[in-house]
């Protein structure tokens, strides 16, 4: 396939699916269109990753205007990995949604909005232009607003107001930063900006970098900007919260990684040192917040915050090993986190609640679900041989290599605290008998619903185990991505060099 096709198909597929799903929203076909579209999206994502792995970064200029004047779509290894992982999450959640989302919500256009969200996320990963990134963020944001409040329960409206308010502030900061950066450098193309920022006034650039850090920091959910996240992620349907938990904050992390490896490397001593301490605070505060919660989804939401800290830490340390850790963590986290939210959804379906004091007996009644919970939970906490172990191991080793003992200690201690939270869910929701005397079993669901709910969970759990047992190819991919991030010459050549 040509670069143009490789880069535009991952965007065209979800948009086309969205239109079809909207047209068929009153039929049962709508949900299957969404599943099929997600599968095709995953397929074109894999083709893109294959092409990038074979021949290095690919770029295409939209509308035939050469870079840096036109809008560039570009994929290096990191972008391609992220597109594939978006496809995997989208497919898992689309299958799960078949069982969970009810007809009235489908008629409002649930599947169409979901596909637009996927298109927005994919666009953010593939664009090589700063203003275009803003536009993709908006696509993502407006569809996430819709998905969050769809159904319109009181808790959802309450959460929606906070989520919308803080995300709009982040958007405005991002937009202002773009304006100032364009005023100072005269370009919006990310590859071109690298050159322009290097010769611009470093003081001005550090201020602009600070604005980007805060803007993307709100999206990513870093300390002290994360409060919208645990206020909102436990209110929508489980399919929605799984895709939010897996993908949305990670787009913020991706944008941070892109901006602070490709563009803002003029004053690493300042910007990246700030990020190290932000990362440590994020890890610690997130995990402590989780310890105080008793609702499954709220515990998991606070864990998103603490895990974001690890990824930002990898970026902030800026050594080859730390970047490998950040990329590996990103992939591992999306899979595991989306999976845990889906497990919480099944627990709610059969036991009636996600508040762990009010449920129980899941181990006795549904041992299969208990097993499927243990895999991502152990992986999240960093038990060998699951994917989380390697992700944490690489990051702790990277900080020890720099003699940052305090940082390494924090990373290990937070892992330990994560086990505490997972044990709490396990002990209360799975082991203790149900306070209502109920024995929740998977048989309460019809066979079709059972398959649609459990298949995505089993698939994602299998992926975690495979990454854990055979980490070599995944580490090789992460290494390649890290090399390209730290020395973006192939990326720059792809965007500015060849006029494809």
């Amino acid at each position: 396939m040509t670069p143009m096709l490789l880069l535009t198909l991952p965007l065209v597929v979800p948009f086309t699916t969205a239109i079809l799903a909207f047209l068929f929203r009153r039929n049962r076909e709508g949900r299957w269109i969404s599943v099929a579209g997600s599968a095709i999206h995953l397929g074109v994502g894999l083709a893109l990753l294959g092409a990038v792995w074979e021949g290095g970064p690919v770029a295409a200029q939209m509308g035939g205007w050469p870079a840096p004047f036109g809008i560039t779509l570009v994929a290096d290894t990191l972008s391609a990995i992220m597109v594939v992982i978006t496809g995997i999450t989208a497919l898992a959640v689309a299958v799960y949604a078949v069982a969970e989302i009810e007809a009235p919500v489908e008629e409002l256009g649930y599947h169409a909005l979901f596909q637009v969200l996927i298109a927005g996320v994919t666009g953010a990963f593939l664009t090589g232009d700063l203003f275009n990134l803003y536009v993709w963020f908006e696509v993502m944001l407006i569809s996430s607003f819709g998905l969050l409040v769809m159904g319109g329960s009181r808790a959802q409206l309450d959460a929606g107001i906070k989520y919308v308010a803080l995300n709009l502030i982040s958007t405005i900061l991002f937009l202002s930063a773009i304006g100032l950066l364009y005023g100072a450098t005269g370009t919006l193309n990310l590859a071109d900006l690298r050159e322009a920022v290097a010769v611009a006034d470093p003081g001005v650039m550090t201020v602009v970098a600070g604005l980007f850090l805060v803007g993307f920091g709100i999206k990513a959910g870093v300390f002290p900007l994360f409060f919208w996240l645990p206020a909102a992620y436990h209110t929508p349907s489980f399919a929605v919260s799984a895709v939010f938990a897996g993908l949305l904050t990670k787009v913020g992390v991706y944008a941070l990684i892109r901006m602070f490896t490709l563009v803002f490397v003029h004053d690493v001593g300042f910007t990246h040192t700030v990020m190290i301490w932000v990362a440590v605070a994020t890890m610690v505060v997130g995990v402590l917040g989780a310890a105080a919660q008793s609702d499954m989804r709220r515990i998991l939401s606070f864990h998103i915050v603490s895990q974001i800290g690890y990824m930002v830490l990898g970026l902030a340390l800026l050594t080859p090993l730390a970047m490998v850790g950040a990329v590996f963590y990103l992939v591992h986290h999306i899979i595991v986190k989306a999976n845990l939210f889906l497990v919480a959804g099944v627990a709610r379906r059969i036991a009636g609640d996600t508040e762990i004091e009010r449920i129980g007996g899941l181990y006795a009644g549904a041992p299969l679900l208990a097993f499927l919970f243990l895999i991502p939970a152990f992986s999240l906490a960093g038990f060998p041989p699951l994917s989380g172990f390697w992700a944490k191991y690489v990051l702790v080793k990277a900080s020890m290599d720099l003699s940052m003992w305090l940082v390494a200690f924090a990373a290990l201690a937070v892992g330990l605290m994560t086990i505490y939270s997972m044990t709490k869910i396990w002990g209360r929701a799975f082991w203790k008998p149900h306070p209502g005397g109920l024995v929740p079993t998977l048989r309460e669901m019809a066979p079709g619903e059972r398959a649609a709910r459990l298949l995505p969970i089993a698939g994602l759990a299998l992926l975690t185990v495979v990454i854990g047992l055979v980490p070599q190819p995944f580490v090789a991919l992460a290494e390649r991505a890290a090399d390209e991030l730290l020395d973006p010459t192939p990326y720059l050549d792809a965007v500015l060099g060849g006029a494809s």
Partner: protein, 117 residues
């Protein structure tokens, strides 16, 4: 000219911050309108303000004459205004629905999703 507009943008942001710190969700929304317009003006100003020099390319020439304003930020601002309008319309409806269902505009009272311990 730029200095005057910069002061105006500063005043807008200050007013917006004041409004957004209020507990009333509607006042917050008004603050949001002000700050999003301040951001749009900021991009516009960053492109350079040059009165009476429209960025028109003469017939047969490849480049506009020297000294005209950069037209790209104006295109960006147009995009941002449209997007901002859509988001604001959504936020307004959301707050209204919230007012109907929760019975309050006071953000301190909105504790349905995060009940007090």
């Amino acid at each position: 000219m730029e200095a005057l507009v910069a002061i105006m943008i500063g005043a807008l942001v200050a007013a917006a911050a004041y409004l957004m710190l209020a507990r009333n969700a509607l006042r917050f929304l008004f603050g949001l309108i002000l700050i999003s317009n301040a951001a749009n003006l900021l991009i516009f100003t960053a492109g350079g303000l040059t009165p009476e020099a429209p960025p028109l390319v003469a017939y047969g020439a490849d480049l506009p004459p020297v000294g005209v304003a950069n037209a790209l930020p104006q295109a960006l601002v147009l995009t941002a205004i449209v997007i901002g309008f859509g988001l604001f319309a959504f936020a307004l409806v959301l707050v209204y629905r919230g007012y109907q269902n929760l019975g309050t505009l006071d953000t301190d009272e909105m504790r349905i999703a995060e009940p007090r311990e």
